[in-house]
Symmetry: C2
């Protein structure tokens, strides 16, 4: 019997994630799914992110330590280059790894492959923000130790992470050696051809400085192409009863190590507190950065692990007060929603003027790039819980405007074209039909700007960055589109959210969100006349925006009674769903764009998304008919889709279907439904799960800055409660017992609409209304065969996998 088999036999090959409302726990360890755990258990504060790697560093899928905005660039290759193709790619850098703590027990390394792992458990507590690992390991030589490590990335000290590592001899005294490392330019073993994964670069960091002093090591590096400098440091505090340990500290160019060796008596654990600090800059010297690292380390040591943990808890308590969604009747869903909200919080709270990437700081998926989904999916959630974080994120967008203006000019357009994917602000996509042509990025940002301003009343932002973002986007729309002979305004040659169509005319989502953008720009320019004038906005330009908005063409097929996704969409043949095998999904990995673009097949909500964010532009009947139709051709090869389908399913009355989609969105990562959680968690799908609850079952819409609710509770849910922060007050909405209660925490009143009734709610005067009765869900629309929503089953399988088996067996 090999050591590995013994270990496997002891803790089970497949990890178990028990249901718990506030904690995600993994019992055992699945060596074939290490990557998933690394993403799920990643810790971050929006500035610094650590993947949930094992303390000892190996085995691993991908080691990761990321700093928001810290990237390397590389030239994009083209077999055939065209004018305006993006020049350089950017990729998030795995900076110096400080998570590493290696343990030797009587000359034998603690390694989950070796000896026997008698217990192994990792748990992430959403209230404390601490990742705890507990294990009992018996070495091949028969020595048993218990290790307890706790890890946090501080929400109070932005540059700091800390690890408490405790090791205890269980049966007899054992000699141990602990090595606590800093390692730069880690080799990654993992590689893939999946276009959604990351671009691997090696030896990105040029060494600049390495210093060892006391129990502290600081390393500084600079990226080779982008020229960014980073300094990383570690310091240590040892708590041990009994005799002294031997200590050694050393540094090399890419490496720092603190070593401790001692003999442990049973019942007398040794605890090592390890403090990490990271600072980076595009301008400052490495000496400056080293000073900052040393200062941060000193602050962290002064707080100590306990102090940092206490601040962490306090910060999260405040967060949850404004953000917690309570759902009774589905404990798994409750856990998944808290997991989602926790990741949204930790990926953004200390972002402070940097981008929110599609994977946060949890992995290298999509090269660490931020996309339109930040503004379209993530910010709508954060706007109503931590609005100051949204301001920071929008200020990042605003800071990229000079690059976006340059890009628009290069493309022969006015205003600014925001990039499809980027870290620093330049367009980084090497496939222009799905990126440069996706002008709707601008509309999504404009929508987030408007939402943030109405929800907060932040006049300073409104007159400054907000105005400029709206204006430059309005200019883009005007130059991109044109009035036809009959006066209608068209936006030709664009790509909407659905990536299985491209270069279409009058994409309904794009046209409607651009229309909102144009109107908002007019209103903002009128409200902030002086600031608008300073931006060169005159009466002619305002009038032109107004005219374009009012004349905006929204194609509608009278004969079919449907909105086409774009002008020609319904003229195409429908995808051959019957001839498509389950293993042919996602379609983009098995069919060429030339076929996908010319067929009616929808990767992700597009027209349906338009019906959510511009629901005011559709009648109830149109929504119902459109939803049913697009449901039949939407394959959800994107994780951005299920949540929006949940929202519209709920609106048109398919509550059980909405519940299925909510669960798919919420379980995307904890059940690894897309099989790529190892690249990082799906931030927009996590946000989407919250949206599915609040906009779906809460029936919340904020069109035109009004707070509208059409709440409806599905059969499975007993009670649903969520808070919305609006202009400093907190509106608490609770659905239970056939009624909905609107309450206010804080000063002043909040005006809202319940169904068609206008209600003013104050702290003293909550409103209670009966929930509208829904006639029931008699005929929910069907999906393409095998693409039914991923109903997660007790055995951990999901519909995609299940459908696959069914189809293969001929059913």
């Amino acid at each position: 019997m090999t050591a590995r088999r013994r270990g496997a036999a002891t803790v089970g090959r497949v990890a178990d994630f028990p249901t718990d409302p506030w904690v995600l726990t993994e019992r055992g360890i699945d060596l074939d799914a290490l990557g998933r755990g690394e993403s799920l258990f990643a810790l971050s504060n929006g500035h610094l992110g650590l993947r949930g790697n094992l303390d000892e560093g190996e085995p691993r899928h991908l080691s990761g330590t990321y700093l928001n905005g810290f990237y390397e660039s590389y030239p994009l290759e083209y077999g055939e280059r065209g004018f305006g193709f993006a020049e350089d790619g950017q990729v998030v850098v795995n900076v110096t790894d400080g998570k590493l703590i290696r343990l030797q027990v009587e000359d034998e390394p603690l390694d989950v492959h070796r000896g026997a792992l008698e217990e192994h458990e990792r748990s992430l507590d959403f209230r404390t923000g601490i990742l705890t690992r507990r294990l009992i390991w018996r070495s091949a030589g028969g020595h048993r130790v218990r290790v307890t490590s706790r890890r946090l990335v501080s929400l109070s000290l932005r540059s700091v992470a800390a690890i408490s590592y405790e090791v205890e001899a269980l049966d007899e005294p054992v000699r141990i050696a602990l090595q606590s490392n800093l390692q730069a330019n880690e080799r990654q073993t993992h590689s893939t051809d999946d276009p959604r994964a990351a671009h691997g670069l090696q030896d990105t960091l040029k060494p600049c400085l390495d210093k060892a002093n006391g129990k502290r090591v600081v390393l500084a590096h600079r990226t080779r192409n982008s020229g960014l400098a980073v300094a990383a440091g570690m310091d240590h505090v040892i708590e041990q009863d009994g005799h002294d340990a031997s200590l050694l500290v050393a540094s090399e160019e890419d490496f720092g190590r603190f070593t401790l060796s001692t003999e442990l008596a049973p019942g007398k654990p040794l605890r090592l507190s390890k403090f990490l600090a990271y600072h980076w800059s595009g301008q400052q010297t490495v000496e400056w950065l080293r000073d900052q690292v040393d200062a941060s380390l000193e602050s962290a040591r002064d707080e100590g692990f306990a102090g940092l943990a206490e601040s962490q808890r306090a910060t999260l308590d405040r967060f949850w007060t404004h953000a917690d969604i309570e759902i009774d009747g589905d404990d798994e869903l409750q856990q998944a929603l808290r997991f989602a909200m926790f990741h949204l919080a930790q990926s953004s709270l200390r972002g402070e003027g940097r981008a929110l990437a599609a994977k946060g700081l949890t992995g290298t998926g999509y090269d660490g790039h931020a996309f339109w989904d930040t503004e379209a999916y993530v910010l709508p959630v954060l706007t109503y819980s931590v609005p100051h974080v949204v301001r920071g994120a929008l200020e990042w967008r605003h800071s990229t405007l000079p690059l976006a203006r340059e890009r628009a000019a290069e493309l022969g357009l006015a205003g600014a074209t925001l990039p499809w994917r980027t870290i620093h602000g330049e367009e980084c996509s090497a496939y222009w039909p799905a990126s440069t042509a996706a002008f709707h990025v601008n509309a999504g940002v404009a929508g987030a700007v408007v939402r943030y301003i109405t929800a907060t009343g932040d006049e300073e932002f409104s007159a400054g960055p907000g105005l400029e973002l709206l204006v430059e986007s309005a200019r883009l729309w005007r130059s991109l589109g044109f009035h036809d002979d009959a006066g209608a305004f068209h936006l030709p040659g664009v790509t909407g959210p659905d990536e299985y169509s491209a270069l279409v005319d009058d994409n309904v989502y794009t046209n409607l969100t651009a229309q909102a953008n144009l109107r908002a720009a007019v209103a903002a320019a009128e409200r902030h006349g002086e600031e608008a004038t300073a931006l060169g906005v005159g009466a002619e330009e305002r009038a032109a925006w107004q005219a374009a908005a009012e004349a905006m063409h929204v194609p509608f097929d009278e004969a079919r009674g449907l909105h086409p996704q774009d002008a020609a969409f319904l003229d195409h043949q429908t995808w051959d769903f019957a001839g498509t095998l389950p293993e042919d999904y996602p379609l983009l990995l098995h069919y060429p764009y030339v076929l996908l673009y010319a067929r009616q097949v929808v990767k992700q909500s597009d027209l349906v998304l338009a019906m959510h964010v511009r629901g005011d532009a559709f009648t109830a009947e149109q929504k119902r008919r459109n939803f049913d139709y697009y449901e039949s051709i939407t394959v959800r090869d994107s994780s951005l889709s299920a949540c929006t389908q949940a929202v519209l399913a709920a609106e048109v009355g398919h509550l059980s279907l909405a519940m299925d989609y909510l669960r798919e969105a919420a379980f995307m990562d904890v059940r690894d439904l897309a099989r790529n959680t190892s690249d990082g968690v799906h931030m927009a799908s996590l946000a989407g799960a919250i949206i599915a609850v609040v906009a779906g079952f809460g029936g919340f819409r904020d069109h035109g800055g009004e707070l509208n609710f059409r709440p409806r509770l599905p059969a499975d849910i007993e009670r649903l409660a969520f808070p919305l922060t609006v202009r400093g007050a907190v509106l608490r909405v609770e659905l239970a017992d056939g009624q909905v209660t609107y309450r206010v925490d804080g000063e002043g009143s909040i005006t809202l609409h319940h169904e068609s009734e206008r209600i003013e709610v104050t702290a003293d005067a909550p409103a209670v209304r009966p929930l509208a009765q829904w006639p029931g869900d008699e005929a929910p629309p069907g999906q393409p065969a095998g693409r039914e929503p991923g109903v997660v089953r007790a055995d951990g399988s999901d519909a995609h996998r299940g459908a696959g088996s069914r189809r293969s067996s001929g059913a």
Copy 2:
């Protein structure tokens, strides 16, 4: 005064090309335009091509020796790869250079940079097929020599080229050394970012064998990736009065050299005949290839330069009998048309089952790839002059069907999808919207198949390769398209000929040529029932093709009375021509596709091309209106456009405009109108010039296999005569003196239509008819500002350049 300035002063910096009906002569040498001369004076036989490099090899733009089908492959790079993207590129290889003959005069190298070039003239004779170079050079040391070299690539011995190099002392005895080289893996100094130029690879050839023996050297190499082997050999014969020369022969891996040194007395020239032979293979050993080279060299030596020259003349005499177009009244045009026909002949006559590349074998432009223009532009000309050559070219297409079937399957389509660009048969384009989506390649090939079969009556081809090409393409159309609810058949998501639109629905050119393809497939399957059955064609499939063809949707805008180029084309805004500067053309180098695709701007004839090749599908009134409209938005950033505009301009009655376009097409290379003749001559534009004459002024159409003529003579032309080979006989058409004469050379009769009259012509009974009177050209349509046809002026400038100057000066 430097040697270079002296040389330059002597012969002039700008070369002069005097008008001559049968010879293209360059007097003097323009060191800044060496590349143009290398392309214009390139020699080829369709199997082997030598660029017109100077004998001494330098200075040069690009040295080139090409073997049709001999390529290297390399992986195509993508910043973002998608399913079905082409994997590998292919690039024509500059194989072992045997053109090199270097002369030393009293220890000083003959170099056009040094000493004084008192005379320098190169002339290409279209009847002899020989490139002659005459020069008188005075060395810096004051020694004068006359050099006369003659070069040919044999049309009788396919693997052989020969050079006669004569050197003579003019004033006093001089010691000379001649070095005749074979050089593999030549370093090229030239590089460019222009996407239309070639992909440079270095050290492509791995040495396999080098042998020196007598005056002969043979080198053999193998490409690194594609694994093709090539053997090249040279042999020499010396003719000299007087005393013996010292001789030396040597070989290295990449190099072979024959050296001769002697003293020349004035009036006693030395003549060296150099014979070259090339053989290549993907299967055979280098030893086999070496044997073939030695055998070919022996045959060449046995024929001698004079013998080879005699065969060359005889072959070309036969060719001209079937191909010469006579035009009286415009000597420059006469010369340009003969130049065009000569290049068409030499690029194809011994192609024998290989592709005809866009640049023939005259340069590395477009990596040496063949495109759709071979079948759409070049083969229509060759079909009526050297039909056996067309069979060879179509057999090459047929030989690629297995690869094209694989490609179709990869794309999820039936039948075969022929590549946009290739050497060996695999798709090599790294930009799919303008390649994979350009399914019209199949229709162009089908059209060429039908034309060849009707013009020759080749039943063997018709029942074999022809049938299979038609069937596999028909299968493609059926799987690509669909019948809508009303029954109409659509082809969605395609790219037509115009590269400033892409991924459109129902491109009229594509739909109409696909319709012809479908009909031809039905007819061929019925005519060759047994063979069709063997290909799996049954009644259901034939009926489906027939139904698709009859229901083929051809969009027409009733309100505007125009055919849109594609379904949505006329719904787009027109390009901002007024805001486009002359230096912004070609647009593709200054604007992104995202803008070009969404605007009404036409790179090259598309709807107008449809009106030529499917003229039977348009009324005269539609042609007139369409032509006028598309004329106003066509910028001719492609050399494939002017000729088609000439054809339709002539048809709708704008004869003077047609003449301008004919001249632009004809002078494309001899005047270097596109500024890239250095990459190789524009084979399709050369063919287009012939088409402009025969289809334009001859009014010749072959819709449905009928020979229709509506001849009209522009004012500038006194007489126009051209032959058409039809089923073994030669129909001679002559326009002069207000009448047209139809004559037949050979047996049998030819039935034709003149205007609406059906006429049968035999050798004994020519037909003479008056030319229809044309009301005159009162209102020719306008072009976008600065994009008027390139009227070539006496000073060698063209409209593009002229327009540029005019626009820059504010006019």
